[in-house]
């Protein structure tokens, strides 16, 4: 699937959040959005998901203007994994993933056999079928994140947008989640995720969008974007990026 964001601008009242943001996603790639706090990545995601609709510019999925898509149809193009959230009520994992099939329901008012199969397949794809009967609230942070990714898979959308998917995870779980996302890319999906960790963006993404002061400051492969000048501009620091190999970097911050 081709996703295009063209001249996207958004403001809350007088305050501009995004200004003239343009980029393309071509499918089968992992793209990270690197931005300082308040850099506009959450707003960008909300516009792409159709939660905010009062933007200017155009967002298209396979040449279809997302503004003309209903909320339900939009959910079939892009799935969303929110930042860790503590649900008001506990659901078991299978039901949680089953909720991902909601946009697939046509005339029926609740999921049927077909949707159960989709949900079970989603769990199997992430290797967490054994969690199906467990309560979501009682899972570890890493397991919860995988369940939410499974829910996104059950939506059967070609793209998953993840808001800081590993923010509250230990490095073991971070690795697990990122490995799974890379696998989904290999299966043809588009993965768009935000992160505050340049090393993570460097290691795991095919492309990096560096968002700063409402617009895209740099875009390209990690080795080109994650360099001292860009990080210094983004985070207002004085740092040197030292590449260790093609996967890892060391960021030296001079005080």
């Amino acid at each position: 699937m081709n996703t295009e964001v063209r001249n996207l601008s958004f403001s809350y009242g007088e305050q501009p959040i995004l200004q003239d943001v343009s980029f393309c996603l071509n499918g089968r790639e992992v793209v990270s959005v690197l931005s300082p706090n308040g850099g506009g990545k959450t707003t960008l995601f909300r516009c792409m998901l159709g939660i905010h609709r009062q933007y200017t510019g155009i967002i298209t999925y396979d040449e279809r203007d997302s503004r003309n898509l209903s909320i339900r149809n939009l959910a079939r193009y892009a799935a969303y994994v929110p930042q860790s959230h503590y649900p008001a009520f506990n659901y078991n994992v299978l039901d949680m993933v089953l909720m991902g099939t909601t946009p697939l329901l046509r005339s029926t008012i609740q999921p049927g056999e077909e949707e159960y199969e989709i949900a079970e397949q989603a769990l199997a794809r992430l290797g967490i079928s054994t969690l199906a009967r467990r309560g979501f609230i009682r899972l570890s942070g890493g397991e919860q994140r995988l369940v939410l990714i499974a829910r996104a898979l059950a939506q059967q959308a070609p793209m998953i947008i993840l808001d800081e998917p590993t923010a509250d995870l230990d490095i073991g779980n971070q690795h697990l989640v990122m490995t799974q996302l890379r696998r989904l890319r290999d299966e043809g999906m588009t993965i768009l995720f935000s992160t505050h960790d340049p090393s993570q963006a460097y290691r795991w993404s095919d492309r990096v969008l560096a968002l700063s002061e409402q617009s895209i400051y740099a875009e390209g492969p990690p080795a080109r974007v994650i360099c001292s000048p860009v990080l210094n501009h983004l985070y207002h620091i004085d740092a040197t990026v030292v590449p260790l190999d093609d996967r890892d970097i060391h960021i030296q911050i001079h005080s």
Partner: protein, 325 residues
Amino acid sequence: MSGSGKSHKQNMHPGRTVLLLALLLVSVSAASALAGRYPLHMEDIWTVILNIRLPRIVMACLAGCALSAAGAAYQGVFQNPMAAPDILGATQGAAFGAALAILLGRTGSVVTAFSFTGSLFAVALVWYIGRKTSGKRVLGLILTGIMVGSIFAAGTSFLKLVADPSDQLPAITYWLMGSLVGVGKNDVLPAALPILLGLFPLLIFRWHINVMTLGDEVAHSLGVDADRMRKIIVLSSTLVTAATVSATGMIGWVGLVVPHLARRLIGNDYRTLMPGSMLLGALFLLLVDDIARSALSREIPIGILTAFIGAPFFLYLITKGGEKY
């Protein structure tokens, strides 16, 4: 709610529990028709059952069902386990309407009509003001509901102050306690129609209420228009609450306690929780009403009993531990 969680018990067959509740409700209804303070004589048995007991049984079931369904629905679309049918001011509006009608010297169905209108008006006001609040939509609505509710409560207090203390004041006070005394054949249909009309969407959209519990943003990303869905659910819940409260007066606690008990028995999945809450609510209020009309020599208003039974029971539920929800 509770921190300690020894048991991971989960009802593996929530559907069977719902079926069991349905069977239980049918048998308790039948038993209730035969139970009463006064012994039945053969010659008037059908008159008593059809004209006196049956309308009251039906009304108790409808009221319990409606309040529990509304409570469960509000808890879902407001992502808040403490939500009850009065969260948007429906009961306070109803109370004000009823008190106003009594103050104007009206009785019977006029009081009901005033009360029904007051209830709908209060919620409409909350909805209208709540949409203008800045920040989170859900929080704005809840806060507006509390404020508007307390304005109507103050209004009711004022009406009590100016009411004639010899007849109007006791009438208002008695109405506020909530009671099924004197519910007759002709009272059931006007209440039943709006209740059934409102219960229907709550059943139809029960899967979508599940999605709504995840929050507006996630619901949206799952293809559900959260604002529109909340509007449908709030409208339906308000209709059943207004119809119930205007017919029976203030029957508290049912709408909070029953959905929580149902969550314990059945789980949080609204596909079974919604019908389960409806049946359990009907069963609960029917049993409480049986106690109210048969157990003691003087009939106790049912609103007092639901508070006496409901509140301690709720405390028991939240301190008992078990599955966190």
